[in-house]
Symmetry: C2
Subunit: 245 residues, 2 copies
DNA sequence: CATGTCAGTGTAAAAAATACACTAAGTGTA
DNA sequence: TACACTTAGTGTATTTTTTACACTGACATG
């Protein structure tokens, strides 16, 4: 097994988290320094990405790179786009960066984007050599390459997927309150939902299991906690596929 | 502008059509001949695909290749996957084929899939050098490369998209009957729908405009024809985005 | 013990979903 | 010309879901 890099194919992970207030995304700090001093010339941020190894499949590479940069493993990951415009990554600072990893500037780089979802509270970011941190999706720093495009695509894809699947629950802890679930939907769709109607609707879903447990150490009435049961979801959702139009 | 091929990147179009009975897909016949005779050694089929040119973006390449092979232009096209497993296209006949177009067998080919939708009745396939024809999605011939995987992904993607958008109407003629629309949904989701309830539901949608026109030359009661108005859809659907959960 | 904060609850009215079977309007043919 | 064939088109009663809307409850903190 060789560990040669494929200089023409890269992957980026758009990793989303939800801190009960905002949708956030993981970014890596990128610092350019001059050759002589350690003073940075400029800094910006990138998604969690890199080139793939020759022996890897795309998702495998995405998971490996994510692990290398953040320590994060075993999260929900789904491919959502490939970008390969011939003029992308032609800005000077992008070229400098690519040279840095041995890329031939005459070759086109095709980048495949994955979006990742995780419970932001359960994940410890174990940063490697580079600084990785969470940013609110609607208050981002400058992004390198065409990562702004990539991220916009990812957000759209997340919205669509949330309408037709249960990935929302991968953004929450195992035990969550209905208010937290509601806020998640509100944040992602940018709307306000009626609390009583939301709860009525959700409680009808049999795959939301109420636990014998409440929040603790909150300075207000503690909320009933629920969990999502994928098992129940899969059993009860053969029906749902009839309701499709 | 160069027309050099990029041997590492290809695109495939999974072009769907609906003939009022079945979902169909466009395939190109692939014939291997020995060097000496014109007798084919074997034949199978591929999706509408090829390698991209160095100067093209992915969708641009997909449209160009589709046009070259079939004469089809200006259809709905949407990217749905990138496949790049290191072991793909390693079967002997795939390698023979790739050599044929000058591909170095040590390089990985990444292929980006687009699904296309069109009104099968309005499109004349103007075949070029190779034979292109429609096949029912559930009665396919042997496919080359990993095109079976590609196609399965495309079908899943089509189902998902049909739930959250209006692409269904791109599979129908401009003027269609409610029965035709119903059959389309039934075919794609593999269910049977109640005729009266289906019609009630659809007629409520303001973007379905009844025309002053009926079917003709049918040996039964001719159906009222409707059209889909994207304009009306876009106006009335700001609301819909509230109803999302 | 007062204040702040979020959790949690019910009802009436409107809209949508569901289940279900017959008549209407053409074409083709005897 | 009438009959057979085929698909279009229609209504109602019941159940379920959606909608709009405002107050009390439980905990932590000072």
């Amino acid at each position: 097994m060789s560990f040669r890099i494929n200089p023409n194919i890269s992957v980026d992970c758009v990793v989303f988290g939800f801190d009960f207030r905002q949708l956030k995304v993981l970014l890596v700090e990128r610092i350019f320094q001059s050759d002589y001093s350690l003073k940075p010339i400029f800094t910006d941020h990138t998604l969690i990405g890199n080139h793939i190894y020759e022996h890897e499949d795309l998702e495998e590479a995405a998971r490996r790179i994510l692990k290398d940069l953040t320590g994060i493993e075993n999260i929900y990951l789904e491919q959502f786009i490939a970008l390969a415009h011939p003029e992308r990554l032609k800005k000077e600072r992008d070229q400098i960066w690519l040279q840095h990893i041995g890329h031939n500037p005459h070759n086109r780089v095709i980048t495949v984007g994955y979006f990742g979802l995780l419970d932001i509270n359960a994940m410890e970011i174990r940063a490697g050599s580079r600084k990785v941190s969470w940013f609110p999706v609607n208050k981002l720093p400058a992004l390198a390459f065409d990562h702004h495009d990539m991220l916009n695509h990812a957000v759209e894809c997340l919205k669509t997927r949330m309408r037709v699947s249960t990935i929302a629950y991968t953004l929450l802890p195992k035990k969550f309150s209905l208010s937290q679930l509601q806020t998640l939907f509100e944040v992602i769709y940018g709307t306000n939902l009626d609390k009583r109607n939301f709860r009525k609707k959700m409680i009808r879903m049999k795959y939301l299991i109420p636990l014998n447990e409440k929040q603790s150490n909150v300075s207000h009435k503690p909320a009933q906690l629920y969990m999502f049961s994928r098992e129940v979801y899969e059993i009860t959702n053969r029906d749902l596929f009839e309701n499709i139009i």
